[in-house]
Point group: C2
């Protein structure tokens, strides 16, 4: 398996872009804090699938979706370590919840905008609103983390995530205090859309004498998502969160 830093056997597609764009190289250096070696990886990170879709489904690996998969995993590991060290007396459930507050779609989109990544993302303008969905920039940020990882290694990716994302922009302390209320967010949306909203709750005893609850979100009597939890409230929150995700809200 090739080591990070070695060129990948792909992306000849981007070769013709090379040499032309010192400005792009400079922008990457400014955003990441280090000079890129394999600039093709960064071009790939900012190539939305709408750009390559014209070339048919076989070209889809030339979009940033694969790098996004990789970057999401690297980001998850870096943030896991950060939280592990920052909160030495908190349990796994707390760490998991905190991580999802830091790296959720909305938060990643905001971080991407703060870094100005929206100016680097390549979209197919012909595809209009669909291509400009809210997660485009957050996905590009994940892909950028993947590109730095392949180009410069784990340490550099970690340094970027901690030094350029978490420390300057994420107020971890205030995240521990806020409770994202998915239920109220869903209620507001349903009211706006004129849809009826209710939860079906059921409980089941589990080994160890605890009850586990499951909540199903029904919009206009149609189940859209389901959540489990050790309290009715927790099950409803999880179900509401998944409903928001499933509905793309």
């Amino acid at each position: 398996m090739p080591k990070p830093g070695q060129p990948l056997p792909l992306f000849g597609f981007f070769r013709r872009l090379l040499g032309q764009d010192r400005a792009f190289r400079q922008a990457i250096a400014t955003v990441t804090g280090s000079t890129p070696d394999n600039i093709r990886l960064y071009h790939l990170a900012f190539t939305h699938s709408s750009v390559v879709r014209q070339q048919g489904d076989t070209a889809r690996h030339q979009s940033n979706e694969r790098l996004e998969f990789l970057g999401d995993a690297v980001l998850g590991a870096v943030v896991a370590e950060y939280l592990f060290r920052k909160f030495p007396y908190e349990q796994e459930g707390f760490l998991t919840e905190m991580r999802s507050r830091i790296v959720n779609r909305e938060s990643l989109n905001q971080l991407a905008l703060k870094l100005g990544l929206d100016k680097l993302v390549q979209l197919d303008p012909g595809q209009g609103r669909a291509a400009r969905s809210r997660s485009v920039n957050g996905n590009a940020l994940e892909a950028l983390v993947g590109a730095i990882y392949l180009d410069q290694g784990y340490k550099s990716a970690r340094k970027f995530v901690l030094g350029r994302l978490i420390k300057p922009f994420v107020d971890v302390k205030s995240l521990t205090l806020t409770t994202t209320n998915f239920k109220s967010k869903l209620i507001e949306w349903a009211q706006r859309e004129g849809k009826s909203l209710r939860y079906d709750i059921s409980g089941q005893p589990r080994p160890g004498g605890v009850m586990e609850f499951s909540a199903t979100v029904l919009l206009d009597n149609e189940a859209v998502a389901m959540g489990m939890g050790l309290s009715k409230k927790q099950a409803e929150q999880t179900a509401a969160e998944r409903a928001l995700e499933a509905l793309g809200i």
Copy 2:
């Protein structure tokens, strides 16, 4: 933030174990392929929560659950990179599916047994079967990856995952060929338990002219899980997979 390798400000609990157990240190070196620096991390990795539970909830950070959270993330990143490089022309969905086939609970348990980790795990024998749940060994494996990461850094953790887990024990090629059939697994279980099983399916049009389906698994008419997909079959598979997870099967 302390760098990997520095001692953590915890785990005084384990100090008294030190010096006594050259055998444990030797076992870790054999399993991981490198001599541990901070042996306390490895003791922690093999301490199931049942051992510290007697000391009350405040001692729970002295079990392997936090390291499991960290190791799970590191494992996810290493496997993501491995698949990214191994399958340069496959899309993100394929990579995600392959990763979950490699690092799912059952596979991790099997890998842990192959490494003999069950002989290292510390359980409270008083707690019997509950403490010896099937995921104890797989969780300890994840925690071990977390311990190696903190003790020796990312490169060593990566080397361990690739050289001691994936390459010797995971037949990645055959994993691409098998389809885990969650639906049949759930049917078999329901028949064995004498429960009725059915799926509620509904479909919704999505932007771009595609239909998205959602399937709810009902056991004895009670919703236990739900899945979405771009085909009815895919939605049912996802729902069945989640049902198996929720039921602990």
